[in-house]
Amino acid sequence: MFSRSVTRHKCIGHVRAARLSRPLAIALALGLALGARPVAAQEGGAVAGVVIDAATLRPLDNVQVAVEGTALAALTDGAGRFRIAAVQGTQITLQLRRLGYRPGTESVRVGQTTLRLSLVSAPAMLNEVVISGTAEPVEKRALGNSVTKIRAADVQQVAPSPGVSGLINGRAPGVVVIAGSGAVGSGPRMRIRGAGSLSLSDQPLVYVDGIRIASDVSSGPTSQAFGSGIISRLNDINPDDIENIEIVKGPSAATLYGTEANNGVILITTKRGKAGRTVFTATARNGTNWFNNAQERIGWNYSRNPITGNIDRWNPVDEQHKIGQELFKNGMSQNYSLGANGGTDVVRFNFTGGYANEKGIEPTNNLWRYTGNANLSVMARPNLDINMSVGLNQQHIDVPQEAGSGMWFAAFYGATPYTANDSLRRGFLTAPPEAYWSATQLGQGASRSLASLAVNHHLGSWFSQRLTVGTDLTQETNTSFTERMTPYEALFFTSLVTQQGSKSSTRRELNVISADYAGTFKTQLTSGIRANTSLGAQFFRRNTYSLTAGGQNFPVSGLSTVNATGGTPSAGESYVANSTLGFYGQEQFSFGDRFFLTAALRVDNNSAFGTNFSWIKYPKIQGSWVINEESWFSKIGFLKPINELKLRAAYGETGQQPATNSALRTFSPTSTADGSGVSPNSIGNADLRPERAKEFEFGFDGSAFGNRVSTEFSVYRRDTKDAILSQSVAPSSGFAGSRFTNIAEIRSQGVEFQLRGNVIDRNNFNLEMTLNASHNNNEVRSIGAEPGTPLDQQFIGTGAIRHQVGYPVGSFWELKVLSAEFDPANPGKTKNAICADGNGGSTPCLNAAGQAIAPRVYMGRGDSPNEGSFSSTATFYKRVRLYALIDYKNGNIQFDNDYRIRCQIYYRCIANLEPLNADPKLIAQYNTSNILRTTFYSDAGYAKLREVSASYVFPGKYAQLLKATAATMTLSARNLKTWTKWSSVDPESFWTVEQFARTAQAQVPPLQQVLLSMNITF
């Protein structure tokens, strides 16, 4: 009963031959062992050509091309090419098979050697091997949880992305990319299945080729004046070096990653060598970016002319245009890469090298980056293979000052000049753009080395083990430099400190060390029951070292080193380390290769746990049932269209470690007039322990109608216990800042859905569509309040962001103004502002002294609970491809601080000037100092035409003019159109550093971009 009618793929040497009959597999294996590619007889005609992906038009390697009714067959090489000689007859049928694709057949004439055959992908196929979430690589059929796999190399072919995050955005249900700044070189945050923590990092773990890497989202010098850098370490990785990305979404799948895995795991696999002729590739991309419709999106500022009494309006783009110096220029993007891929059955290699140069829309925003990646796979013995990867990166990024400083702040809130000083600044708030651009530079240079060594060893068929070790070393130099100002610059910056110039330089070294071992015993318990017993151990250590030097007052202009400053240079040094040690055991039972049951237990310790806490245990259990392979399944009529159907369920736990040293009560060395002293630093918490998340997930994967339609559906519920709250410390304790405590509980739940369809599959026309959608909700269940505490008192947060029991984490709470009336005694002023009382009624907003007395009420959430995407790819004549992706988010609000600053701080709105023509409810808010703010929240939902592209694959004869075997040209664009109700520049622009608040203020929006790419294969 447990035997299967279809033989699934298995390893034959390094080649995975899909659905081969046993004799053919043996023939292929023998042929390969003899170094004979292709496998063929020695007489007759020949057929040859290339096999491509029907949607991406990308050549496919490892496609088994077989002549129907014969033993003749060949495997395609890294360039997708095959050749079969000694074919008898004049007309034959070729059968094409590859893992992850629907089988194809093609009738061809013998003698045709320029065939262009295509296969249609079938991503839900259960035989696909994934590496994530288990002790060793397994087929999807054995997984009880969902894993999203993104074929990065395909994505880069269709819609090239400048960063890793662009590969993920819109392609993984439940994964939200949270942009922040659109400046060149900036990187977003990523959040999987919503926020599962109140105060700890919300970022997933990232692995590259099996080793953990640093993926800090906010590095670089402070560029937003609120403690944020905008450079993400994740974007150091060249997307062109990546073969695929797997995303493990939650504790039900990530248990074996243990502590730190609450936020999910992203596993990146770089390109590997493929046996066969060496294939060289060259890719060149050139393009431009721009701030679309900047003038109207920034908006106008109004002021009353003191002489004429008229209302004037001012806009920075307009102002610069009038003097012939455009505020924003078109940026530039250049990207070049070379690759070599090939090898033998014993040694395979892939080398890639790349250079990128991007310029933003203002002079202070630039990036250059060199990347190199080498991957060497050696099959040292039939049962021992070794894979070595080395990635190198050298880059420099100049970031613009934005948000609270620099040209952006000065431009957003300027006004028509009336005085000589105003005119000198041309109306810009503090200084004209050229003064900022010439006086100050913010930048980060970085070099990064990733190295990993993975050893896989098999002892017969009953034991396998793997060991992966590696290191990630990043050296950053972050520089903030203000030159000794020229007389012109000094006109606008009155502080002597600023005028005299300053420099701060921070050298930071990040080092992550990984060691990961797993051994698996495989036991055939009965003829149909198999057991895999795995034991594993992992060790990770992260060291962060930084050395800072700074100084002020350059005595003369032209100096730029800290030593050249006239004052006493300052220096700082810090070192932070964190280690995790974990062990796990896993037992997996397979019943007839159709039903799988997996149970595991992981134990972890971490150097950040409190002294009163040590080892923590994380269990998991999951099961999957490939129900369509049951003998009764195909006998039920209405189920016949279903080709594959796997039901799955998973339960697992993971943790999230507290921040390093946060358990300790510490003091800092300080400088005093008496010499060295000490000062309270952190109040600590000796009972601190990791957050603990428990997640239950179930769903199904399936395909139907000849694998034309595939779908994945998941429902999950995650409960985070002992959620760590960064609770502000009451200053009377003698300590400042915050203290981590394990007091909260959070529930996250949601639905994820993906539907892919090969809508039309004709020989010369193919149309594929993909719909991703997810709904992720969360709710604070407890903040550890004393029993009997009224519900409205069960919250944490002193400002607008609250963690309130019964509501989404980190949601917005404000005084909600319902009405106000003009005060006849004070023209233009209001009185009797009425706010919501939180119980459906109303109450005065303010007391006589103008202080808030109404309660804060729920306004909405900053994170969108709903996100998704729709993409479509059409190919014509296997040479022309059209592609578009629209993504959306909705259900969230954001705080429009641009609006507030204009109307409540600088009074540069029309309503400030003509209040009696405005709604008194608005005027009442404009006239308070950051107390009444209802109107500044706005729906931040949007849909974006995120990616669009058109490609053409040149016929071989044209490619041969370049001595190439293939050439493809792609014109692609990003962010061309946004549909939104959001009131400010862009719903994806807000302070990068914020975990929950979404505050829009004078930032670079996501830029529109167009790229022309040329990809040539030799």
């Binding site: 055939q524 151990a537 609770q727 200053p731 003698g734």
Partner: protein
């Protein structure tokens, strides 16, 4: 062969593989030191709080106070109309406009190196000093050489921290306790000063004498803050002429620099307020309020800078005989002894070569004492509380327009911050 069919060599391989796995696991288990990490820039409480570190602990407490004094003196000067805003950062406007919000005002959580730092740095300074005293009292004289002097020194700075806390805040808490009124806070300060006086009086030497005098004047301040004129004057009378204890600054670190010069002098974030520009007495420029017009503009405001402090390393008076004379003058005026009060005022005038003050009208003399305090104690952390204690009109008047938008309000003391109210278990709810 099925890929999972048992291999005939299985037993031998199994034993070797098992051994390898067990050895590997055992190796890792044995490496518990893998979890040991260093935090060389931080000092754990247990490491710090040993007797041999007593001098460093006390130095840290005094350092915390001197840093807090700097930030509060700037904050108080801005709210108390000695300085005015001149920068584009809207967060500081509430200080000048007197619209400080307990939820998010700078005065709530800003540290001692930030403009506006008040409640938090003063609270830290108070804790550091009290904690130092607690530790010192748990050790013996044998363990800590000069322990009594260290106790006296830490205690007097705990007292001054409480004085600043009471003068700045409408109410406050200490050690996560209940909300205290200003009167209660000043009483706690007096208790510390009394203890310091007692401790220092039992010692000999110039250091002990300085602490004793500082404690006496501190106690006088804590008493005059509660209008306890006679007892305040009695303490003040013990301060010898020309005696001053300074808050000490240097350029080595931002914590230790003269914050007033940093913000109004070297920096231009704040300008000297109109009320302190061109101050004269009977037509003679009053040198105690030195302010000059730079001719520059800072965020649309004319930039006037004070020249009382002209270097980051220039010390500032924490307690001085001048303050003692003013306390005595105030007490004398309150007691109806006009000539005595005028005499004290004129001692101060003589010092700076101003014409003598002449009056027999007690009300006028009381007003002159207040004015003399404004001038003599300019930028020495007194003015904001004087506005409250004497219920003086705020300038510009509440309701008048603020240059960057909005209107001035009235705020003669700072409300208890939400960060305290919501996170102190004795206050929440």
């Amino acid at each position: 062969m099925h890929p999972y069919t048992p291999d005939t060599k299985r037993p031998a391989y199994r034993s070797r593989g098992s051994l390898a796995a067990v050895l590997s696991a055992g190796l890792l288990i044995g490496c518990s030191s893998l979890l040991d990490v260093q935090a060389p820039q931080l000092i754990e409480e247990s490491t710090l709080q040993v007797a041999s570190n007593a001098p460093v602990i006390v130095a840290g407490a005094v350092g915390d106070f001197e840093c807090a004094w700097g930030s509060y003196t700037v904050a108080g000067a801005i709210i108390g109309d000695e300085l005015a805003d001149g920068q584009g950062n809207a967060a500081t406007w509430d200080l000048d406009r007197r619209t400080n919000n307990p939820a998010n005002g700078l005065f709530t959580t800003a540290g001692c190196t930030s403009p506006g730092g008040t409640y938090t740095p003063i609270s830290i300074a108070r804790y550091s000093a009290d904690n130092a005293v607690r530790l010192l009292e748990s050790w013996s004289d044998e363990q800590v050489p000069g322990r009594q002097l260290l106790i006296a020194r830490a205690t007097v700075y705990a007292g001054y921290s409480l004085v600043l806390l009471g003068e700045a805040m409408c109410s406050a808490a200490i050690d996560l306790g209940p909300e205290l009124t200003r009167t209660q806070i000043f009483q706690l300060a007096e208790d510390r000063f009394t203890k310091a006086i007692t401790t220092a009086s039992a010692l000999t030497g110039s250091s002990a004498d300085s602490i004793r005098l500082l404690s006496l004047l501190g106690r006088a301040r804590s008493r005059i803050d509660r209008n306890l004129y006679a007892t305040a004057a009695a303490d003040a009378a013990l301060i010898p002429n020309n005696w001053t204890m300074n808050v000490r600054f240097n350029e080595k670190d931002t914590r230790v620099e003269n914050r007033i010069y940093r913000q109004n002098g070297l920096g231009s974030g704040f300008t000297a307020a109109p009320t302190v520009r061109g101050v004269t007495f009977e037509g003679v420029a009053d040198p105690r309020v030195p302010v000059v017009n730079t001719g520059r503009i800072s965020n649309t405001q004319p930039l006037w800078i004070q020249t009382k402090y002209t270097a980051l390393s220039q010390p500032a008076p924490l307690a001085s005989w001048r303050e003692a004379l003013l306390i005595r003058a105030e007490a004398a005026a309150e007691a109806g002894d006009g000539p005595a009060a005028v005499g004290f005022i004129n001692q101060l005038h003589t010092r700076v070569s101003l014409p003598p003050y002449v009056s027999t009208d007690i009300a006028a003399i009381k007003a002159q004492v207040i004015e003399e305090r404004r001038r003599e104690l300019f930028l020495e952390s007194h003015r904001y509380f004087d506005i409250s204690r004497f219920d003086l009109p705020e300038v510009p008047a509440p309701g008048s327009a603020f240059y960057a938008g909005g209107s001035f309000a009235s705020q003669k003391c700072l409300p208890l911050p939400d960060v305290e109210r919501l996170n102190n278990p004795n206050l929440r709810g």
